[in-house]
């Protein structure tokens, strides 16, 4: 799948997930480099610790190439029913979920090859939150 299509599907599934809780605001930020991508999606809906943990677990699910190559194609495409973050989780390098000071959450997704080190990426999610 081309990078553009891939990103459209990821953004669509993540947006679908956040929008099903009807936030008042949602921001999508994308930063592309040669060897990696940082995608951040922010909303303003307050969530419990349990909800945040569940989101983080779904996005950091173990690599499942046998599912990602087949069922992962449904991400951001087949949206009837509940949004499924595990479809996204199989296809990304790493994700973390931060609570925004004003309520809501920030989903940070790093996408890249094996050599891509998300920790060294130029956008620091904590800086983003501080801003």
């Amino acid at each position: 799948m081309k990078r553009r299509e891939f990103l459209v599907h990821l953004i669509s599934e993540l947006s679908s997930f956040l929008l099903q809780e009807q936030p008042r605001k949602m921001v999508i930020s994308l930063h592309q480099e040669e060897d990696g991508i940082h995608l951040a999606v922010i909303d303003d809906r307050a969530r419990s610790d349990g909800e945040i943990k569940a989101i983080e677990q779904a996005l950091n699910t173990a690599r499942r190439p046998e599912l990602a190559g087949y069922y992962g194609q449904m991400a951001g495409h087949d949206l009837l029913g509940s949004a499924r973050l595990n479809l996204v989780g199989w296809q990304i390098k790493h994700a973390d979920v931060l609570r925004n000071p004003g309520g809501g959450v920030m989903l940070n997704l790093w996408i890249g090859g094996e050599s891509f080190e998300y920790a060294k990426f130029s956008i620091d999610p904590e800086d983003e939150v501080k801003k």
């Binding site: 190439p65 046998e66 190559g69 087949y70 069922y71 449904m74 495409h77 087949d78 949206l79 029913g81």
Partner: protein
């Protein structure tokens, strides 16, 4: 190897060993091997009950060998055993009692792997399509042994057809997935039915009609009767040995899930609960088969194996029951005997629509079951029996109809 991987491996090994044991106990090893070789060149289209064609021993040995082939395919691709891979291996084992043989599976699995390489992916990414795609095994057997080709040509041509089918399976399987959005658990059934429409039309275009074939075993064999209940009890026993009372709580969390593709119950709820779910489904449907007086033959046991396999990957009593009620309502409404071959198979395989009941509620589930029975009686002839997952084909069409209407209604009325 993690504990979960080890337990799944033990369960799969126990399943294959049970098939091998019952194969030897039924008619002896010599009869099993002799019949197994004959099965490789026998017709495999729907409905070819291998237990009737070459005996119980041969059919069970064939199933065990196909199961080992599936397991090897998973291992060679470096993938761990999990809900979906066990579902795929169980489906392969089940259908090896009425259509799949190592000979007709290998070209398709190779073709799917080739398809991945063509688009610069790793074959493991299409692993499940390759395993479920063996539904089109009868097409390979048909070209090799039923088209009347010269022996020197028959095998190479059938191999080429198998590879070609395997190459086109992944793009079609992914396209079909979007039609029903994961609400038909047998997505490759819909895909294989679609390909089967073309495959069955080609010989017709060349002036060669495809004669229908039907072999339905009715002999009562204790080994076949016992197979699924024993396997179900093994699953239940293993669930409590591995996870204790936690299994019950995990099972209760499984029945709350919609079951839409891809729902790996081992990952979402836990292995103990998934094994318990598998055992309960196996026992419940075995009881139903016995109550309606249907034979425990190759296709019925194949259906029960598939049902149990998907007990790891989408089906549970709560989402299966409304489908069952819908099928029952349709069978009674149209006066279809409950133990007739295609009706009992529809009851078992129609559970492919379980996620519809799981997501949209029991009423829609009942409607899905009702529509499925109406359609599946006819759909087998459309592809000339080339697609073993005829219920997956009909289920896919039913799910597409229902999902399309619901999506249209929701997107048009929701604010």
């Amino acid at each position: 190897m993690a504990l979960r991987d080890r337990i799944l491996a033990y369960f799969l090994a126990a399943t294959i060993l049970l098939f091998l044991l019952f194969s030897i106990l039924a008619n002896g090893l010599a009869a099993a091997i002799e019949g197994f070789w004959r099965l490789q060149s026998s017709p495999a289209r729907l409905l070819s009950d291998f237990t009737a064609l070459q005996g119980t021993s041969a059919a069970l040995l064939n199933a065990a060998v196909v199961g080992i082939l599936g397991w090897l395919f998973v291992r060679v691709n470096g993938i761990k055993l999990s809900g979906p891979t066990i579902a795929a291996i169980f489906t392969m084992i089940g259908f090896a009692l009425f259509g799949k043989t190592p000979l007709n599976c290998i070209p398709i699995m190779a073709g799917v792997s080739l398809s991945a390489l063509i688009v610069k992916k790793r074959p493991r990414e299409y692993l499940l399509i390759g395993m479920f795609g063996t539904a089109l095994g009868p097409l390979v057997s048909f070209v090799a042994f039923e088209m009347g080709l010269a022996p020197a040509l028959a095998l190479p041509v059938s191999l080429a057809v198998g590879l070609a089918v395997g190459i086109v399976l992944p793009p079609l399987a992914i396209a079909m997935l979007h039609l029903h959005q994961g609400y038909n658990l047998y997505n490759v059934g819909l895909t294989a039915g679609f390909i089967g429409l073309f495959a069955a039309s080609l010989p017709n275009a060349g002036g060669k009609s495809i004669a229908s074939f039907s072999s339905w075993g009715t002999a009562a064999t204790p080994w076949l009767f016992l197979l699924i209940p024993v396997l179900s009890l093994i699953a239940i026993g293993m669930s409590f040995i591995c996870c204790g009372k936690k299994s019950w709580n995990e099972f209760l969390s499984i029945v709350k899930l919609p079951g839409r593709l891809p729902s790996d119950f081992c990952e979402l709820s836990g292995l103990g609960g998934a094994l318990l779910n598998v055992g309960i489904l196996g026992l419940a449907y075995s009881a139903y088969v016995a109550i309606v007086g249907a034979p425990f033959n190759g296709p019925v046991i194949g259906g029960l194996m598939t049902l149990m396999g998907f007990g790891f990957f989408g089906k549970h009593p709560k989402n299966v029951f409304p489908i069952f009620l819908g099928l029952l309502a349709a069978a009674l409404f149209f006066c279809k005997p409950l133990n007739e071959s295609w009706v009992i198979l529809a009851f078992i395989f129609g559970t492919a629509l379980a996620p519809i009941a799981g997501e949209f509620g029991p009423a829609i589930g009942i409607l899905a079951g009702f529509l499925h029975l109406v359609l599946v009686e006819r759909s087998g002839t459309w592809h000339g029996g080339m697609n073993l997952y005829n219920n997956g084909f009909a289920g896919g069409l039913t799910a597409t109809l229902i999902v399309s209407v619901i999506e249209w209604y929701k997107t048009s009325t929701e604010r």
